[in-house]
């Protein structure tokens, strides 16, 4: 049954959004039909809660299908000519090791996902250093890119690390938060193809070494909040160095254990375009970790999100909102309690705090709960924390196929990706060492191959890297990874940031008979991006649940869209649960890209493989901005 929104702070907002979508989301392309409308959405109570007519029979199988994954490298030849500068020197400063991130966002609202990569600079920091900006690439469909940094006024300099995407002021245009060693920046998307630095006016500057960040609505007021992960205390002017005479340059990388951790920061959106730092009041402060990854997700299914932070060499954090009740007339205070240990995600099965880097979050075992996968250091395993419900997890790495295959690698960015649309979440991992130890005897690998795992549908994975394309047969210093359907063909693509090598797009060219749904969310009462939305495939057995979590991966921002593999089905009925409590049921959605408006209809995006013919270079886009 469709519940009433908890409040209706912006009445009529979805109508405004629809109007906006009607003419600013289409570009100058003539779609086969301007907006394909599916049958009117129904209340949840009106559709059967068991298997629906649009749902394929249960697809549980002892092993996965034999679909061969295929990812093609898209780089400089497509205009994506960017290589991050980390100022890697022989001193092996820890600052050089973390690399950068990637974001997928449709900043110009033409329907095609654009790319943003963070960049480093020379160290120590100099305020006048303008040589190596972070870069924005406009997607000129399909899979052709134009550097748009200067035109967009996105003058993000400094030693940038990660990024987060969110429409913090709910104006319909995704904004960008960029973390850095140094000052973080919040860039407001002006809606005309340009950005404005609003860091100071919004109060979102953080002057620590920040890594990952995530937008989400942590207090359920319909306004996006911002969580900033901070790593450790280090100086760029007087960096700690770890001499090693045996090394060719006289140094080796210092262990993070030698540095002090620092607190993270939580900003609450004030609903007026500003933010308030509530780190202390909410209980986030006082937990100095060495954070590298974050995911904000409703891990216990109670409708309020938890904040999970991956810490490097220290116990991970799970901030769970306390259940204070409101006092007369006031909203309940936002208070978090750190409960990772009790919930089973602080330490691995052996009781060790691992060197956690990136996080993949998703219901890999199709039981309706969000599981967590963490990447770790060389000679250790990555770890799969299986969600048993009720905020209880267990380490399910052993026997999953993910442990032994990661021991000789060092993982960073990671995402659950249903690359073949079979409804089961597969897994991508970017790898690469933090320190060049090829001089050691025996040597350790520096650049490393990335990994792709196929979900076997029985709780285990099989690594399929070697058959997935050239990219997987090469070695990289992989860092940030973002995912999204760049060419709107219904399959998830990836953007990967590397050190000492160009950043790339991995175009998913897997041949599969399964279609995929991409759902763009438009919150009206809930936050505009729909962070926290859960989508269920009605009648699916086993259950299929996808959540638009805040954060995930490593220093990167996967596009704020949800992807649902259809499996054997031609179409699906989706139950969309919004953070506000609104439930929308959308029926008979065929493969393609859909725009779901909270409490309103679902619209078919014109940029759908079935509705849009393949475009040739320059034929589709004049390059003009198509803002509101």
């Amino acid at each position: 049954m469709t519940s009433l929104p908890r409040r209706s702070r912006r009445p009529g907002r979805w109508l405004t959004v629809l109007l906006c979508l009607g003419w600013c989301g289409c570009g100058n392309r003539a779609p086969s039909s301007p907006v394909d409308r599916p049958p009117p959405h129904k209340l949840a109570s009106e559709v059967p809660s068991t298997e629906g007519e649009n749902t394929a029979p249960p697809s549980v199988a002892p092993t996965a299908t034999g679909v061969t994954p295929s990812f093609a490298i898209i780089g400089a030849e497509a205009g994506l000519d960017f290589q991050r500068f980390d100022d890697i020197t022989g001193q092996r400063r820890i600052l050089e090791t973390t690399g950068g991130g990637a974001a997928l966002l449709d900043f110009d609202r033409d329907g095609w996902l654009d790319l943003f990569f963070t960049n480093g600079c020379r160290l120590p920091l100099r305020p006048d250093d303008r040589d190596t900006p972070s870069e924005l690439f406009r997607h000129r469909p399909r899979l052709s890119f134009t550097r748009s940094t200067t035109a967009a006024g996105l003058t993000q300099y400094g030693y940038a690390q990660g990024c987060a995407v969110g429409d913090f002021d709910a104006d319909g245009f995704d904004d960008l938060y960029v973390t850095a060693y140094g000052k973080n920046h919040l860039w407001h998307n002006n809606g005309d193809g340009t950005f404005t630095d609003v860091t100071d006016v919004t109060g979102t500057a953080v002057l620590r070494w920040s890594t990952s960040a995530a937008f989400a609505d942590v207090n359920g007021d319909g306004v996006l909040d911002l969580y900033v992960v901070n790593y450790l205390d280090e100086s760029d002017r007087h960096p700690r160095l770890c001499p090693n005479p045996a090394s060719p340059d006289g140094y080796e990388g210092c262990s993070p254990a030698l540095f002090a951790g620092v607190d993270d920061v939580l900003f609450l959106g004030d609903g007026a375009g500003g933010f308030v730092d509530v780190s202390s009041a909410s209980g986030i402060s006082g937990h100095p970790g060495k954070g590298l990854g974050v995911v904000i997700s409703d891990l216990d299914g109670d409708g309020t999100p938890e904040i999970f932070v991956a810490n490097d060499g220290e116990a991970n954090f799970l901030f769970v909102r306390r259940g204070e009740t409101a006092t007369a007339g006031d909203p309940p205070p936002l208070q978090f309690e750190e409960r990772a240990l009790l919930c089973g995600v602080a330490l691995n099965e052996r009781g060790f705090a691992q060197a956690s880097m990136g996080i993949a979050a998703g219901d890999y075992d199709a039981n309706g709960t969000i599981d967590l996968f963490l990447t770790h250091f060389f000679a250790d395993t990555n770890t799969l924390y299986i969600n048993d419900g009720g905020l209880s997890f267990h380490d399910g790495t052993r026997g999953s196929g993910l442990g032994e295959t990661s021991r000789q690698l060092l993982g960073f960015g990671t995402l659950f990706v249903d690359y073949d649309n079979d409804r089961w979440l597969d897994l991508f991992v970017a790898n690469g060492h933090v320190d060049d130890r090829t001089w050691m005897s025996p040597p350790q690998p520096y650049a490393m191959p990335p990994q792709l795992y196929r979900n076997n549908r029985n709780g285990t994975f099989t690594e399929v890297s070697s058959e997935s394309g050239d990219y997987f047969r090469q070695r990289w210093l992989g860092r940030g990874v973002a995912g999204g359907d760049l060419d709107r063909d219904g399959k998830l693509d990836l953007a990967v940031s590397h050190q000492l090598a160009p950043s790339l797009v991995l175009h998913n060219e897997t041949v599969t008979r399964h279609g995929g749904l991409t759902v763009q969310l438009v919150g009206t009462v809930s936050n505009r991006n729909g962070y926290g939305v859960k989508v269920e495939l009605v009648g699916a057995s086993p259950p299929l649940v996808r959540e638009l979590s805040g954060g995930t991966s490593y220093q990167s921002a996967p596009t704020p869209e949800l992807h649902v593999g259809l499996g054997e089905a031609e179409a699906a009925t989706l139950r969309i649960t919004w953070p506000s409590g609104t439930i929308d049921v959308q029926e008979n959605l065929a493969a393609g890209t859909w725009i779901a408006v909270e409490g309103g209809p679902v619209l078919r995006s014109p940029l759908t493989a079935s509705s849009t013919p393949p475009l040739t270079e320059g034929s589709s886009d004049s390059g003009e901005f198509r803002g509101r």
């Binding site: 080796e252 060499g313 330490l347 052996r350 000679a379 052993r398 032994e404 000789q408 025996p442």
Partner: protein
């Protein structure tokens, strides 16, 4: 310890003198022997000196041990003569040559030299034995090295006048061997002896009190083991360790095949049994695990820690919670900082309806999780880090560990310049997480 190739070098005479001088001054044991030699055995008259005879061309073939050339022998004799101011006897020359060849990484020559000195030699015998063991490690002949070092320690126990540096060095090399071979229970005994003798450095203490928290499957350790295996491919201990390293590298099917083969050859070997169980545990193959553990002897306090750990995991898997408590408690008694045992106990107590005990174990683990990265900071240069570790140990009621790390801190503060260990650590600090 340095790991270098055994390629011979040709140092200049100046370097040779410097080398020997350094050796003589640095190695207290050698100086002691030389001093003792001067007191107890006066140089024979020039004409009766066997070494002066050896210096003559007509004597080059006399009594040269296998593997030693006349040229080497004469060179060492000359060097000794220059350094000591008298003519050397045969043991003088062999010991000098052994030290010289060691410094030049000519391990075969060094081994031949030290081996040729009789154990009963009152001046050099024991020291040569110890050095022979050490050289065998450089030659990657682990089983032989262990035998020699253990022989030395047995003999040394009956020689109270032996300089402590000699025993100290032998124990450290033995500890090193046992580390590479993942024989942590036996290493603990050696480390306890080192501590009892007041000769422990910070790294020894970390290894003694926190073996479970240190990285055991480093690429360095793996590389060392492979070199050992090349020299002794049929050695059971090395092969069991090989199986465990394969597990540590994630090569589980190779490990299984390897360990099953060795289990057939060593049906009563508990370390092999434990390693095979660990392999099945990592493979999450409980059918195979059940079959193997059914053949295990009854538990006792002397069994490998890994076997006790695996018994605990087995009990957990089959929901035999009280039995799991017993196994993990036993493990915690022998290794109080065993994080995995705490984890297992926490799970078992929770299932037994003892949430307070479960939480206590969780809290213990949280402290261990803080200690683990902090171990990296605890070095011979940082008394504060040692004190902080001592404070964490007190929280865990690891009082002996706390006392030891406080004493390290005091020692380092008192005499920072002398803080370095008198002998090289057998494993490098990079083996610590």
């Amino acid at each position: 310890m340095t790991e270098t190739s055994p390629a011979p070098q040709t140092p200049s005479p100046g370097r040779m003198l410097l080398t020997l001088g350094l050796l003589l001054s640095a190695a207290g044991g050698t100086a002691w022997y030389l001093h003792r030699s001067a007191e107890t055995s006066r140089p024979p008259p020039e004409g009766n000196d066997p070494l002066s005879r050896l210096g003559a061309p007509s004597r080059t073939a006399v009594d040269l041990p296998p593997g030693i050339t006349a040229e080497d022998y004469d060179r060492a004799a000359d060097l000794y003569r220059a350094m000591a101011g008298r003519s050397p006897d045969r043991s003088d020359v062999l010991f000098t040559l052994g030290a010289l060849a060691s410094d030049e990484n000519r391990w075969e020559t060094a081994a031949a030299s030290f081996e040729a000195i009789p154990v009963a030699d009152p001046r050099y015998g024991l020291s040569a034995r110890r050095r022979f063991g050490e050289v065998r490690i450089h030659l990657h002949r682990a089983p032989q090295a262990e035998a020699v070092l253990r022989e030395f320690l047995r003999l040394a126990a009956g020689t109270p006048s032996l300089p402590p540096e000699e025993i100290d060095a032998a124990r450290h090399w033995l500890s090193f061997l046992l580390s590479v071979e993942l024989r942590f229970e036996e290493r603990a005994a050696v480390l306890r002896d080192i501590h009892a003798a007041g000769r422990a450095n910070v790294f020894d203490s970390k290894q003694l009190f926190f073996p479970n928290l240190l990285v055991w499957n480093s690429t360095l350790g793996r590389d060392r083991l492979q070199k050992f295996l090349q020299q002794a491919p049929e050695d059971p201990r090395l092969n069991v360790a090989e199986g465990r390293y394969l597990i540590g590298e994630g090569r589980l099917e190779e490990a299984r095949a390897h360990l099953e083969a060795w289990r057939r050859r060593l049906p009563h070997d508990r370390p092999c049994l434990a390693a095979l169980l660990e392999c099945h545990f990592e493979r999450n193959d409980w059918t195979a695990f059940d079959a193997v553990i059914a053949t295990a002897p009854p538990p006792d306090d002397a069994e490998p820690w890994l076997l006790t750990h695996m018994r605990g995991e087995h009990a957990l898997h089959h929901h035999r919670w009280q039995e799991a408590v017993e196994h993990f408690s036993r493990l915690l008694r022998v290794e109080p900082a065993h994080a995995t045992a705490c984890m297992g106990l926490s799970r078992a107590y929770a299932q037994l309806g003892q949430p307070e005990e479960s939480q206590r174990m969780q809290q213990r683990n949280l402290i261990l999780a803080r200690i683990r990265p902090a171990l990296r900071k605890v070095t011979e240069n940082d008394p504060t880090a040692a004190e902080e570790l001592a404070a964490e140990c007190e929280q865990l009621e690891l009082l002996e560990a706390a006392r030891v790390f406080r004493s390290h801190a005091e020692r380092i503060r008192r005499s920072p310049s002398a803080a370095g260990s008198p002998v090289p650590s057998a494993l490098r600090e990079g083996d610590v997480p």
